[in-house]
Symmetry: C2
Subunit: 347 residues, 2 copies
């Protein structure tokens, strides 16, 4: 920690917070001072960063004095309570919660897709929903090439999206099953919801709480965040989001109708050249993206690229991305890197 | 076994064969004589039926002498080799393999959907693919009410669809994981394919072998069988089929554009009245179909019924059905019941 920014990580002890610290180290983000913040409950915990032991402090307003970049990843209520305070005290906030994402004053950014939106920031930048990031990295280059006409998404989302307790819940259920014990559920689909269902050997077609028109919050996030960050407020896009017994990669089956026809080969070519996207697609070699092979990878992987037999301009594809990395922590760090590159952080 | 038909079950020791025997008993199908047939390898095995021990015999041409109804569930090559022989010797064949399904001379039947097609049978009736049965029970009533314009399917298919070895493979992988052992894969996605991948904590976007245009055989089955049995050869329907770590229910996220608009409430009403379909749909109670709750059920369950925000006449829904029962064995027995009711079996 020498030349660089004073950085705070709020929610440092969560799944995304831990990954954020790992990625800041990996990518050698310029940091002069690192403050690990969390709830009063986690204050006092110790975390290693670049060989040093750092103590977690309680996230109070004073903790942001002198901070230049603050990553928030401790839930919407914490962002609501403290993000503006951090900005008032001079920080740029990169918020991983959904609290500010649809605020017209707040840029919602995937650096490979709409980095220019950072220019208008007023102190807070929102990191999109994990599934949104993963699919929009693929939708953006296809939109630029041929225009998006309509998008139908079905997701297969890992338990990591519901936090460390959900990861442990799946692991525990599998162990209990193997030991012949009764399986219990306390976390999924939503900790705060009245009913909990097992995820081992199951699928739960509810991610986050239900909102209007029978859609879950997760489904509206994918729809509205995509419309905002692709600058296509009228984009026809729908989603069904489903939790699956997978540990940390989200997968998405996407049916995409384009304005102009693209062959499968052309789509493969476009996506091969897209930033943040890797094509893994060779049926003759049984090559396609699978969650267990891609955990820990930075790119979003696309396979099963096929012309849609039901539509003159449709494409079917299968997308897999690490929900904790590109779906959350990596994208947040890339936003910070882009702010740095563009001189958009107050020194 | 008193008044009734002489029935043969070919593939009596497989997952579907066992379920078939259970369902014949449960539904008290009229049987005077039951012959259990299988490969030479399984000959001599003993199986209990209604308290009696029956010995499995090798499925040779002579074994069909005197048989009136023969269920085939021992793979396409066995049906290819022996179904016509069984018919020549006087049996009606109800074939659970894909071998005859697209043959224009062979009716492909879901009794609740197109029982009248049985009238034209020439000795062989094909039982549709499991995923096809599950989704078509839902598509048929919607088509009758408002016309199908275009259908986009994403499946979440249980390991049972790949047979008993795949069920054991998932169970073994989970036990090995829980014991901290290395997980091995020898069966999925397709036994005969060169590469095998773990299914525990994973998703495999390949079901059956790859065919033309980048689609798998399973995907083409869902498309072409649906077109045939709904009598809609030009129906616009596409599919992405994915294996998930679930033991025996298949799930499907369906996006259905209709010719005429139906409200979500109307779709719920139509499906509530459809034969073989149960609606399980109340977001306020977190009520929706889930595989672990519906294993062993006869009906196909539908929930998450929503108007599609991306299409004026679209509907999103989530369908779950027991792949071994309605997706295979139950439908086959229901075909036999319908043949009996209509007097379409030679006495």
């Amino acid at each position: 920690m020498s030349m660089g920014y004073s950085v705070a990580v709020v929610g440092a002890t969560g799944v995304v917070g831990e990954e954020l610290l790992a990625i800041l180290q990996e990518r050698q983000f310029p940091i002069s001072e690192l403050r690990l913040l969390a709830s009063a409950r986690s204050a006092g915990l110790e975390v290693e960063y670049q060989g040093k032991i750092l103590q977690v402090q309680e996230a109070r307003p004073e903790a942001f004095d002198g901070v230049q970049i603050a990553f928030f990843s401790a839930g919407g209520s914490v962002s609501q309570a403290l993000a503006s305070t951090a900005v008032e005290r001079g920080a740029v906030v990169i918020d991983n919660t959904s609290f500010f994402r649809l605020d017209p004053e707040v840029p919602l950014v995937i650096p490979e897709v709409n980095a220019d939106d950072l220019g208008s920031h007023k102190g807070i930048i929102a990191n999109p929903n994990c599934s949104t990031i993963i699919i929009d990295l693929v939708l953006a280059p296809l939109h630029h090439a041929a225009g998006l006409k309509r998008v139908v998404l079905s997701t297969y989302q890992a338990v990591s999206g519901a936090g460390i307790k959900a990861i442990h819940e799946l692991e525990d259920q599998v162990k209990d099953y193997a030991a012949g014990k009764e399986v219990t559920a306390k976390v999924l689909p939503v900790s705060s919801a009245p009913k909990h269902y097992p995820i081992a050997f199951n699928l739960i077609p509810q991610i986050d709480l239900f909102e209007d028109a029978g859609y879950t919050k997760e489904e509206w996030k994918m729809i509205r965040e995509t419309q905002k960050l692709l600058h296509l407020p009228e984009l026809r896009i729908t989603a069904t989001t489903v939790r699956v017994p997978v540990l940390r990669c989200h997968s998405i089956a996407a049916n995409i109708e384009l304005e102009q026809k693209l062959s499968a080969a052309k789509v493969q070519e476009i996506l091969s050249q897209a930033a943040g996207v890797s094509v893994l697609d060779d049926p003759s070699q049984q090559l396609y993206p699978m969650p267990i092979e891609l955990s820990g990878c930075d790119d979003v992987f696309v396979g099963r690229i096929r012309e849609d037999n039901s539509s003159a301009t449709g494409i079917n594809l299968w997308v897999v991305g690490d929900q904790i990395r590109k779906g959350a922590a990596l994208n947040a760090v890339q936003i910070a890197e882009e702010l740095h590159r563009r001189g958009l952080v107050k020194i």
